[in-house]
């Protein structure tokens, strides 16, 4: 994702930034006529999870570090990239099933599961930093 990204923002690692970024991305998806459920559930929850992972885990809640958010929205799909300064993680190894009886009452462990449940594709790779890419097909 490069020059034609609709949104390309670098924010400090601060969870208070999340709602503002989510609002901007949802606004762009609304302009491209994503459906109501995608605007109120899939995009805000999955992006909130990706941003909080980047801020709290990737950057260790260190306000001196930054998160870069890129969003490319079209009539076909939304592609989001959330990049932190951490070392990355193994997506499969870190995604547990929070719905099993032994995990149901755990306070944590639902973030990646929700991202994968609400997006069509979730990928992780290395760029300059650790990047999580979320793709949602417009329906």
């Amino acid at each position: 994702m490069a020059s034609n990204a609709a949104l390309d923002i670098r924010i400090p690692s601060d969870v208070q930034q999340i709602e503002g970024i989510v609002a901007q991305v949802v606004h762009r998806c609304r302009e491209h006529r994503f459906n109501g459920r995608q605007l109120t559930l899939n995009v805000p929850v999955a992006l909130t999870e990706a941003l909080s992972n980047a801020i709290l885990r990737g950057n260790g809640d260190d306000m001196a570090k930054h998160v870069r958010v890129r969003a490319e929205v079209s009539e076909i799909r939304l592609v989001l990239e959330v990049e932190d300064e951490g070392n990355g993680f193994d997506l499969d190894a870190c995604t547990s099933d929070p719905t099993t009886p032994e995990n149901l009452e755990r306070e944590t462990g639902r973030g990646l599961f929700l991202m994968r449940s609400l997006m069509d594709q979730v990928e992780r790779f290395r760029g300059d930093g650790n990047i999580v890419r979320l793709t949602l097909i417009r329906r």
């Binding site: 969870v15 208070q16 999340i18 709602e19 459920r37 109120t40 559930l41 805000p44 929850v45 909130t48 999870e49 909080s52 709290l56 929070p98 719905t99 149901l104 009452e105 755990r106 306070e107 944590t108 462990g109 639902r110 973030g111 599961f113 929700l114 449940s117």
Partner: protein
């Protein structure tokens, strides 16, 4: 997010206005724990004005439900919109919580 606390008999009702997410979840947690510390055992959280909850918000609700149960109390939820209902179904937390579709039904259920 803002919280409004009212009482119906000995039931404490907490209205959540806004998203319950990583940046504000501690506020709700502390408020419920303060009420429990003050002796409340039956607590209802009303999400009529909440659009969505993230995983950390769900985690806080799980944690609070456990704490209330340990104290011999009960945490119940009301007024989940369709998106919230979907989140609870996806995570199977609808099996962990007693959820009412209206505040009145929730109060009657205690």
């Amino acid at each position: 997010m803002s919280l409004q606390v009212t009482k119906h008999g000995d039931i404490v009702i907490i209205d959540v206005d806004g998203q319950l997410i990583v940046g504000n979840r501690q506020e709700l947690k502390q408020r419920v724990l303060d009420e429990a510390e003050g002796g409340a055992r039956r607590i209802l959280i009303d999400f009529a004005k909440t659009a969505y909850i993230d995983s950390s918000g769900l985690g806080v609700l799980v944690s609070l439900a456990k704490r209330l149960r340990e104290l011999g109390g009960d945490l119940r939820l009301a007024n989940l919109n369709d998106d919230l209902q979907t989140l609870f179904e996806l995570t199977k937390l609808d099996s962990l919580f007693q959820i009412a579709d209206t505040r009145e039904r929730a109060l009657e259920s205690f």
